[in-house]
């Protein structure tokens, strides 16, 4: 079956603009995770959704970051008023919690 997909694969934006990143998880996976990977850094946890429970937002770096998951499937990560330090690869993963996480290819965000 299809794996986790993310779009766009690359996004270049200007400082101050808002961006939306999309994640399509593997069908049937109840858990969905967002991570950020900056150059030379490991994966930084941002947020995760598990079933119908309230999302764990403890990793979001600021209130400019938000995410939602509609219908227990597709998720959108929104970054408002982007800053240059937001430039990174944003990775999404899904799992049959707490089983193995399957990662998408990521969205490379560049803020000019």
């Amino acid at each position: 079956g299809a794996g986790v997909s993310q779009s766009p694969s690359n996004k270049v934006t200007e400082k101050g603009k808002d961006v939306e990143l999309r994640c399509d998880p593997i069908s049937g996976h109840t858990a969905l995770y967002w991570y950020r990977q900056s150059l030379g850094q490991g994966l930084e946890f941002l947020i995760y959704f598990q079933g119908n429970s309230a999302p764990d937002k403890s990793g979001l770096p600021s209130d400019r970051f938000s995410a939602e998951r509609t219908g227990g499937s597709v998720s959108t990560l929104t970054i408002q008023r982007t800053q240059q330090e937001d430039s990174a690869v944003y990775l999404c993963a899904s799992s049959l919690y707490p089983d193995t996480q399957y990662f998408g290819p990521g969205t490379r965000l560049t803020v000019l």
Binding site: Y33, G42, Q101, P105
Partner: protein
């Protein structure tokens, strides 16, 4: 938050050589996972170790979990160019967040 430190950060070796990379923490983990990430792709799970002292083999890759469950190592025998990539270790955080990752070891195997 529990931290995982990986070493070395970078490693460049010739095809056919052996190598070991390390993942260390001051905290005890119930399990540790190793992932490999290639350019433009997300990490792919290689193995999960759950028992102190456990050794798992995946072809030319040997993974070991420390007796105290605070560290792990990955040994590659006769490295090949296809082994090139970023190797990440990860483990469940003591808090509610799903996984904490190390910064990884970037391996380059030169033919």
């Amino acid at each position: 938050t529990q931290l995982l430190e990986q070493s070395p950060q970078f490693l460049s070796i010739q095809e056919g050589e052996n190598l070991t990379v390390y993942c260390n923490s001051s905290s005890v983990f119930s399990s540790l996972q190793w992932y490999r990430q290639e350019p433009g792709e997300g990490p792919v799970l290689l193995v999960t170790v759950v028992t102190g002292g456990e050794v798992k083999k995946l072809k030319r890759l040997t993974f070991q979990f420390g007796d105290a469950r605070k560290d792990s190592s990955l040994h590659i025998t006769a490295a090949q160019p296809g082994d090139t990539g970023l190797y990440l270790c990860a483990g469940p955080n003591s808090g509610n967040t799903p996984l904490v990752f190390g910064k990884g070891t970037r391996l380059s195997v030169i033919a």
